[in-house]
Symmetry: C2
Subunit: 158 residues, 2 copies
């Protein structure tokens, strides 16, 4: 059962993560000013691949435990928000709204991590790399907003 | 607790449904050939508003029941897919890929409905209007694909 659960949760992650392939960083992102510590483009899909395995494994460990309902509700909320950032940032080119999405995701991931930890400490620890990566993503979104005030002021024409 | 669960699940629905506001049907959709039975634009947000309340209520009823893990995993998968269709169809203008997404969503919603029903028949019934609406949405996506062969053949330039 835990394998079935793992693959269903992983499918949810893949559905959310598919926006990363559908709305790739194009010339618009390339031309933006970015901080010196910006990871190269290839790091993002690799990082998300590893993270999605951890995120799905954490949910699969906890899903069948008694009283896991709230942790599962927050897990569903984080996966819905996870798929939202890429269409907002790369699709709509809305840097400020992207920051709102990624900061909301950060708070929800932190809450999910605590709720998972209460059910099963190892599941909570599986969310630590995710929280760290969303921290980096939030900092990057913030830095891009500060370094490109004109682009951040108004959404580019679609 | 059931109210807290309801609002967290509803937040997940709102996150997925926000793509409907972010990628509204524009001139491109207006100009497409559509079947005579296409619902008017205003029906869609109203229908989704009611459906999201039912979808969140179904999850809140089931989340704390013992053995609800698989139903919760499929619930998370349907919410991740739910937010994907609008960016694909209205954002990328990819009609065929939209059909793949909405048909996958249909199958996942049907599976979630059965799993919810096993845990709590009323929760399963709360998913019936959702399945009916996704059936209509799939038929509409299919009809639009058939009625606009040129638009469906290749994605419009972004």
């Amino acid at each position: 059962m835990v394998y079935v659960l793992f693959f269903v949760f992983l499918a949810a992650c893949v559905a959310a993560g598919s926006t990363g392939g559908l709305f790739p960083p194009g010339k618009w992102y390339e031309a933006l000013n970015k901080p010196r510590w910006t990871p190269p483009d290839w790091v993002f899909p690799v990082a998300w691949g590893v993270l999605y395995l951890c995120i799905a494994a954490a949910a699969a460990r906890v899903a069948m435990l008694p009283g896991a309902g709230l942790a599962m509700a927050f897990w569903a909320l984080q996966v819905a928000l996870n798929g939202l950032w890429t269409p907002v940032f790369f699709g709509l080119k809305r840097i400020r709204l992207g920051l709102v999405v990624v900061c909301t995701l950060w708070a929800v991931v932190a809450a999910t991590m605590v709720l998972l930890y209460i059910q099963d400490p190892f599941a909570g620890l599986l969310f630590v790399p995710y929280l760290l990566w969303v921290t980096i993503a939030s900092a990057l979104n913030f830095a891009v907003m500060r370094l490109n005030p004109r682009e951040a002021a108004g959404p580019a024409a679609a």
